[in-house]
Symmetry: C2
Subunit: 377 residues, 2 copies
Amino acid sequence: MSDTLFTVDATCGQSGGRTGTLKLPRGEVRTPVFMPVGTLGTVKAITVGELGGLGYGLILGNAYHLSVRPGDGLIGELGGLHRFMGWEGSILTDSGGYQVFSLEARRRIDEDGVTFNDPATGDAVRLTPERVIEIEDRLGSDILMPLDQPVPWGADRQATRDAVDRSDRWAERACAERDRRHLDAPHRLLFGIQQGGFEEDLRRLSSERLSALSFDGYAIGGLSFGEPPAVTAGILPGCAGALPEDRPRYLMGVGTPADIVTAVACGVDMFDCVLPTRLARHGTAYVGHSTVQLRNAKWREEDSPLDPGCGCEACTRYPAAYLAHLVRSKEILGCRLLAIHNLYHYGALMARIRESIAGGTFAAMAAEYARREPDEE
Amino acid sequence: MSDTLFTVDATCGQSGGRTGTLKLPRGEVRTPVFMPVGTLGTVKAITVGELGGLGYGLILGNAYHLSVRPGDGLIGELGGLHRFMGWEGSILTDSGGYQVFSLEARRRIDEDGVTFNDPATGDAVRLTPERVIEIEDRLGSDILMPLDQPVPWGADRQATRDAVDRSDRWAERACAERDRRHLDAPHRLLFGIQQGGFEEDLRRLSSERLSALSFDGYAIGGLSFGEPPAVTAGILPGCAGALPEDRPRYLMGVGTPADIVTAVACGVDMFDCVLPTRLARHGTAYVGHSTVQLRNAKWREEDSPLDPGCGCEACTRYPAAYLAHLVRSKEILGCRLLAIHNLYHYGALMARIRESIAGGTFAAMAAEYARREPDEE
């Protein structure tokens, strides 16, 4: 990519935190950015109009799942994922590397790729580095992620080393397929994914190899894979620090607001997580620096808004007791309104992070999140 | 009510069809009108903002269900159902009479009222004519329905006669309770419910007794209670014809678009039905004069809108293949978009009915619906 596709506009000074601009074909995105997850072509329970209204301009799709349902061939014929789902913003597609981990019992891995037994359809699904780029090309992704092989917490050093080596060979094949398809010409970005488990030297090795290839950004893969939070916190600064400074850094699958603030301090620019929408479907909402559970008795008769300081539709139009009633009654509208609230909360968090970095107050914000209250469950 | 609260603005001439205006405290409603069903304080999957955007100004709530969850006392303390659910339009509340039928195995009926064993909570719930008016008073309903005792298709004449007699005694008690609470002063309307099963003389008897009381409108209860469609069609003209001409007539729980057109021709002004939102949750959409099932193979690759002639959000923003994908993937957004589509379809149907009555073309419209295509399933 041209070096002007990502610019760092301000840095924290007291941490690795930075705020910048990612110039994508469908619009600029200010970083640090949170990307709502739309695995199957929908951010669950939310319309694209609502996503835009919440200020989001970049969301996630999943190449693996969309290739199975409804099929990348079909989406391609219908004009691509943006048109299919009516989304005018940008889309980053996950490759299926996460499913190598999450569907471990249903996949076989070899040097050329991975064969899955899909849980939704029972079909055999073959992914190779080249096939993943083909899927993402057909979907029309703005940011493509290559196939990789993460290892779970607890993998031994040799298994971790083998997976890094293979992931890096697959990264090279992904770049070659990108070049063969000339996907960089219309400014479609391809990110490298750093692996290396919980071994700092392997993380550095992976970064060095990926930096020698032509990637537009770099992701940190394989964290939040079952390890204790202290382990993640311990290794993250080294992971982020090993990646080139002039490219966006994306911490895959993370996380809570406190996780995000911590990672921003390590120099991470991009995040995605199912938490805001998944917790919404379970009746959990972000309030202040923690979460509350709407099924708890204290909300049943609450006349005030869920979060009096929040400007979202759920908080400005309804008493919290109504949201609690919808959750207890398992009404779809409850999922909807809490998803709106949680995504609004994440959007406001990211805006505050960007403003505090630009304004020189990010270190204070990070300290505030380190002192957060316990979650209500 | 003052006689000016309902005016007939035009009649069909070739049928009993009429279009008019119902003046409610929260705004005028043009009839014939369809009322979306919001049993538990939410029209399923839809926000109040969307309902307003679809042109609806009058929806249903259910006094029985809301008295159990979250409780009429709580809703009253929180300022009433309108504030609780954020709805600025009008609300008609069903009494629980339908539950006398639908929860038959879970209720005991006596002269004073009905005791239910609630299926959601297992609690014993006691409804009397007075208690129902109390619930509806606390909810702040704009149109109150009294407790009644419908009989199922197949009930013998004596059982039907006993139920009519009891319903009419309960109607008198409901009026007395309405007067005791002075609910007519703020123009809150109370409707009488005609019963009589499938016996025309009992329907007439019920109408005569109810007309002698002070009701603001009249409902036809106990139809679509398991009888064959030809039976409903045979008895409906007599049911509607027995009711006063100068008051709105409401056919409870009906129905399909064709049912509605037929009933309008008999002089019915108001309708409610769960079909548009319930079918949406099962992947069924109204197109033209029938329904289509989005799971059918023909929709999987369909690039065109679901209904090219429809102006709703689902039809103007997405290819039908996207809706089919959401339905097959059981995504909440699929329920949402089909509910929007089906409610838009019903709204457009009612607008066309009103316009065709005013314009003298309703008879042709009714003939068109009599020739409808079969549903796709």
